[in-house]
Symmetry: C2
Amino acid sequence: MNSGPDTDAARGEPGPALDEPSDELVVDVFARHCSSRAALEDVGSKWGILAMLALGEGSYRFNALRRRVEGVSEKMLSRTLQILERDGLLVREVISTIPARVEYSLTPLGERVAAQLRVLADLFEASAADISRARADFDTSRRA
Amino acid sequence: MNSGPDTDAARGEPGPALDEPSDELVVDVFARHCSSRAALEDVGSKWGILAMLALGEGSYRFNALRRRVEGVSEKMLSRTLQILERDGLLVREVISTIPARVEYSLTPLGERVAAQLRVLADLFEASAADISRARADFDTSRRA
């Protein structure tokens, strides 16, 4: 089991028990193969956070969402939305008008995640000046 | 007003007023140049979230932190920590023992961010089974 310094067994810390089947659901964001870690990464991705925050405001059509999330390309937004849909955080609904409209909205789980992300975003917005100052100080100290 | 699909002006939504100086601190995570958006991206990055979550448990020495954050390379962890230090979320302390130890711990702002990330991680951990199911369903529907 101890095939390298990076294996669970080598850490001597709690990990999946050795006799558990490998498809056992590991529920620990620190664990490499946990679906919660993977989904956290999806949501945490550059555009994932902003797409979730936007959809936390209400449902959006693709182009409106793209305008809300400043700077995202069509391709990246489309890819991000597909990943979040796959994680069960949002639904893509085709509304049969002429022309057909496609709308994105959060699932109940997505709503809960978005609400938490909003708290985090508020914290960062409230600390924007401190962050800017910390960055300037850091850059100055590196230059010295 | 409508100079392109991606400009603030084209959106007809609140943005920085045109007569504001360009170094005005924009405080909106959706805004391209906001330091809060940049810091949110840093924290949201694949290893950023996990490093913050780990440090939310207490201070860590580099190698112990690397073991806690399963799968991170030395290079990526080092880079991630430097970015988070620059944002004012953590401090790197060199303790002059022989050999010298380097310890990382959160700043007060970092503590608040980590606590919020922990709430998010708990939500994902509690939803790990739902997420796995959503992914399997999505993949099945795509294959059909």
